[in-house]
């Protein structure tokens, strides 16, 4: 057993932490949140320059890592800084799918992602799909040398800034079948594609997509016809690792912030951290965050292993972290009192962003049921 990160990974993590603590300031974050892209382009360029995007890809594809522990190390720092840049959507989710299904033909795009020159978004979820990965009703039909897409996609994170969209659509099977799902690279300006964009709670931007007879060339298909599902599951396992790591980073930061506040805020003539009622709850919070960190390590360590084990850990980790997130959000706000409820104080943004991690890639309930079917029943 060795729970120490490798020297290389530790150096990357330190450099990333330094970089983010300088570039993700409240003023820049607020400006970025109200921009049309929903993130800070300069920070994005800096992430590319530091090799952080590359750390999400293996060497064979032009990166410097790509393993579960690389993803965990990067996203823990993103969380700690409260960063809102779409590293998860462009790098892990859509970038990961391009890498897995795109082959040599798309290697150029993968390299553009690693270089920070390309923004992507995965348009997979639909208004009625909730967190199910196989529930796709958007249709694709072959018509001569094009595919024609029809349907709706919901809460597509980073779509407003995306240079290219990765859109899932069904060519065969029923609404909930794993088989028959395809992925297409779609130009957001394609005719027939309407995009309604909006800000997201906790930062970033998303969009609803309406596709009406959107025609794409035959070579827009990524991977084999109707066979995208296993890659989608794999990409979501990696994305779940990323968001769980982001949550752990956010919780670490919130825990430090709350501890500091308890040491400095005085009521009744003493720091409120002297009250045992609060001490015990901080102790519980720390214990739960360490449990979350262990669950994350379990997941990162099994991410690249056998699928059945990987999926058990995806479900276990996301369920546990969902519960700990709610505890940390609610307790940290409570122990701050009124100041914890304002957007003028750092906790406001962090708590919102942390809460939203429960609404991506399956919430506690979704993963509880996944775990029951994979490991209990």
């Amino acid at each position: 057993m060795n729970f120490e990160p490798t020297e290389e990974r530790r150096m990357m993590q330190d450099a990333l932490r330094r970089f983010l603590s300088n570039s993700v300031t409240p003023a820049r974050r607020e400006a970025a949140e109200s921009s049309t892209a929903g993130f800070d382009r300069e920070t994005w360029a800096g992430l590319a320059e530091l090799g952080v995007i590359g750390a999400l890809f293996p060497e064979a594809r032009g990166g410097y890592g790509g393993s579960g522990f690389d993803i965990a190390a990067v996203f823990e720092e993103m969380g700690r800084a409260g960063a809102i840049e779409p590293l998860l959507d462009t790098g892990v989710l859509a970038g990961g799918l391009l890498m897995e299904l795109g082959g040599d033909a798309r290697q150029g795009l993968v390299e553009q992602v690693i270089g920070g020159e390309l923004q992507l978004a995965l348009a997979h979820a639909e208004p009625a799909s909730r967190y199910d990965l196989s529930r796709v009703t958007t249709r694709a039909e072959r018509s001569g040398d094009t595919y024609v897409l029809n349907g709706r996609k919901s809460v597509v994170v980073n779509a407003p800034a995306a240079d290219l969209l990765l859109v899932s659509a069904r060519m065969a099977g029923g609404a909930n079948d794993a088989d028959g799902i395809c992925l297409f690279l779609v130009d957001p300006a394609a005719s027939g594609l309407a995009l309604r964009d909006y800000p997201l709670s906790g930062g970033g931007r998303g969009a609803e997509l309406d596709l009406r007879n959107v025609a794409v060339a035959a070579d827009a298909l990524i991977g084999a016809e109707g066979a995208a599902y296993p890659a989608l599951v794999h990409a979501h396992a990696r994305a779940t690792t990323a968001i769980c790591a982001e949550a752990v980073g956010l919780m670490d930061r919130i825990r430090v912030l709350t501890t500091d506040y308890l040491k400095t805020r005085k009521q009744f003539g003493q720091p409120i951290g002297k009250f045992q009622a609060l001490q015990h709850r901080m102790a519980d919070m720390l214990t739960e965050i360490e449990q979350a960190r262990s669950a994350l390590i379990n997941l990162a360590g099994h991410l690249d292993g056998p699928e059945t084990e990987r999926d058990v850990h995806v479900a276990a980790t996301k369920n546990l972290i969902s519960r700990v997130c709610a505890l940390v959000v609610e307790e940290s706000i409570q122990m701050h009192g009124g100041i914890g409820m304002t957007m003028e104080y750092e906790l406001g943004h962090l708590a919102k962003r942390l809460t939203m991690t429960d609404h991506r890639f399956g919430d506690g309930l979704y993963h509880l049921e996944r775990f029951i079917s994979l490991a209990v029943a």
Partner: protein, 399 residues
Amino acid sequence: MDLNFTPAEEEFRSEVRSFLEARLPRRLAEKVRLGRTLTKADHEEWHAILNERGWLAGNWPTAYGGAGWSAVERHIFEEEMTKAHAPRIVPFGIAMLGPVLQQFGSKEQKDQYLPRILTGADWWCQGYSEPGAGSDLASIKTSAVRDGDHYVVNGQKTWTTLGQHANMIFCLVRTSSTPKPQEGISFLLVDMKSPGVTVRPIVLIDGEPEVNEVFFDNVRVPVENLVGEENKGWTYAKYLLTHERTNIAGVGFAQAGLEQLKRVARSELHNGRPLIENPHFAARIARVSIDLMAMATTNLRVLSGTASGQAPGAESSMLKIKGTQIRQEINALTRIAVGPYAMPFVSEALEEGWNGEPVGPDYAMPATAAYFNNRKLSIFGGSSEIQRSIISKTILGLS
């Protein structure tokens, strides 16, 4: 033991219900149902309708234009109001200042201010908390120094709810520095249009500027605006806080929230079936429903022991803690129920005059906003920690 309401109480309930059916403007009920932000004019419109019927101040004696209801009648009224999605009655004048003036105010103050609370001529806000004085309210620093016929007020209040609408603020101010901080506090009524008063809004995590900072820079306040005696303000402040705690259980709000939660869980699909049919989610709804059923009775047990016009004692701390836990759990479940559509955050959508299409179902965004906003329930009006201390000291004698 008789768990039923009396026939008179049942009749009162149906009277309230038919009044609400007839007089509650649909537009307002719709805004409340959808979790939209009510404007000042919305509140004023609803207050005027209630006042016309004599029901704006259920807690006031009839001599002052109130309804003189018993605690149980007030509870029934609240329950029907929330069920009908009526706007809540803004508490600062009616629930807070009114009882203090009636008990401790001068005749002039009663004559001048009580009718104006009912007509809506004045909108009051509560100036208790300061940056350095929250749970430890007695440590307030805002000072009032006597200068002829005036007090000169300097300092700062914070977390002042809806202070942006208010023209009047009732403040706790320090009038003398005594070894025991409680003994140097006075209760002062301040016109917010006085020179030297500045209001700065604070945006909360739900995106709404619900609270404010209020600054006082050499504000001159006539001495006749002192309530009761100088340096006795702490007694009045505590009296007010106990009245603030009536309806603290929020049973009506919880019931309305639970109905909304079930509506959401019926229309959201999980694995292609209504979420409410999912045994794990249904179990969480069931648990909070069971808690709420007992809470409704705990609440009535306390209320029925409370005489008309009076406030419940330390038991109300239990009502506040448990009622808050239940409401916050309902908010959390509703946020979870809306799924991925909890993420879009179009803050304008909560505002008056917004005509856009909601992103996702119309209940989604208000659900997230309410989850964040109702964190306040366990913080204000004496935090849950402070309430626990009250229970253990006052009821259990552990100190």
